[in-house]
Amino acid sequence: MTNNEQNRKAGSANPKIILAAVAVVLVVAFIVISQFTGGNASQNDDYDGMGSRTQSSQAASDSSSSEAPDVTLNLVDGTQKQLSESRGHVVILSFWATWCPYCIEEMPDIQKITEDYEGVEAILVNCGEDAQTVEDFMAENSYDFTWALDEDYAVQSTYPTSGIPYTLVIDAEGNVVQAFSGSKASGMYNDFAAAVEEAME
């Protein structure tokens, strides 16, 4: 292919070869990287890794403590409740918003956990939205959750939720067993169940 040779002489390359090379890079990179992801990576056993990342986090910045910071929850019905009042049973604390499709997608999994495991309380803390928005959502979706508002992000900033959904499984003593950043497309039920079972030990 003399045309190809001419291009080489001029310091340029055959587009087909380069595009093929780029495609090979893509495939090889994909195979290599997927060896390190998808649950093959280390699970987060301790809560302490995340806590230092928000400026207002206090208890969580103590690396030896996995205690869930106690917060005042403003429930949708207007009452208030301390998170510590839920000690004595396992709590799933999940941060969400109506504009977050992945938060909404994991709610059925949370619901199923509360049905399958006795005594588990699911507290869903809405991030930054007003009561009406949350009530409209509740009306359209029937879940047995404790719904809390957090319009000024006060609760959220106590926890390192730079992204949502952010779901924590807390045992009866108030310690965080596991924190999940984001959710998987394949569903979170198994992950939640494993954490809840560990919390119940």
């Binding site: 997927s34 990576a41 280390s42 497309a185």
Partner: protein, 307 residues
């Protein structure tokens, strides 16, 4: 800038000055130093404003919002006010600058420009444009369709609109994503095939950018596709003086984007053509003007490097 003197070269194009402005503009997209230090996603009030280039709202450094991400969110939430707001912002950016934004104020474009320089410095063989790249440049309109259709179709399907371009394609978000995942054992346990795909795509684009000029901008960027519509009449752009132009085609030949004419939809307004014009017919124009009498495009066969 040019004084319209048509007797000879009217001066060089912007050259290195453009890269300096690109560097400064890149800071615009990385101003949230506190969030960078804590590797968290910021929520400052400034993030309700769009910055014009392609970047990611979820980047810790972002002090503003990405217009493409915001557009998808407007579709996903079916919010008319948000739709008008984002649409209006894009119209304003486009009408002001068109793809001058691509050439001067986009951080991902800047990254590719620097990779190009690196590639040439390392004597990596360059893949020149041709009919193949001209054809491939249409694919960014498919990406634009994905930006619009993705949230709408997912919204219609299961009531939840999702930003498919952001999750499936955009490399600008992958860069900070790698940093966020690397620093969080919790995230590491969560990421799967999609993350592998995004990182691979980023690596492939970085590799490609060493061999060919601005591969993402030319073939994949929906924002460039959008801004391209404004290139013929925006306020800030290069124009050709038809009386001085001799149709020699040097401008199109020098140009590393897949243009047919100066300042058409593929032009990123970088000014390299101004350097190439021996007749001083090209200058940077600031202002509203009537559609200028653009010269006929030089014959395509003369200016393409076919394989």
């Amino acid at each position: 800038m040019a004084d319209g003197n048509n007797k000879g070269r009217s001066g060089k194009g912007p050259g290195a000055k453009r890269h300096l402005i690109q560097l400064l503009a890149a800071l615009l997209y990385n101003l949230d130093f506190q969030s960078i230090a804590t590797l968290s996603v910021g929520r400052a009030p400034s993030k309700s404003v769009c910055a014009p280039g392609l970047h990611c709202y979820s980047c810790p450094g972002a002090a503003a919002a990405c217009p493409i991400g915001s557009l998808q969110q407007a579709f996903a939430s079916s919010s008319l006010p948000m739709g008008f707001y984002v649409g209006g912002t894009l119209l304003a950016f486009g009408a002001l600058a068109g793809r001058t934004i691509c050439g001067w104020a986009c951080p991902f474009g800047f990254l590719q420009d620097m990779l190009d320089k690196l590639g040439r410095a390392l004597h990596i063989p360059e893949v020149r444009k041709g009919t193949w790249s001209r054809r491939l440049s249409w694919f960014k309109y498919v990406m634009l369709a994905l930006v619009i259709a993705g949230p709408l179709i997912t919204l219609a399907n299961d009531g939840l609109g999702k930003p498919l371009f952001c999750s499936l394609v955009c490399p600008a978000g992958t860069l900070p994503g790698i940093a966020l995942v690397a620093s969080s054992p919790s995230l590491q346990g969560m990421v799967g095939l999609l993350f592998s795909w995004k990182v691979s795509l980023l690596l492939a684009l970085v590799t490609a950018a060493l061999f060919l000029y601005r591969p993402f901008c030319r073939f994949l960027c929906p924002l460039g596709a959008l801004y391209g519509f404004f290139n013929r009449f925006c306020v800030l752009r290069y124009v050709v003086d038809a009386t001085a132009c001799t149709n020699c085609g040097a401008c199109v030949e020098t140009c590393r984007m897949d243009v047919r004419q100066v300042s058409d939809r593929e032009c990123i307004q970088c000014g390299a053509c101004k350097d190439a014009c021996e007749f001083g017919a090209i200058r940077f124009s600031v202002g509203m003007r009537k559609r200028d009498a653009s010269p006929q495009a030089p014959s395509v066969e003369r200016t393409h490097h076919d394989e």
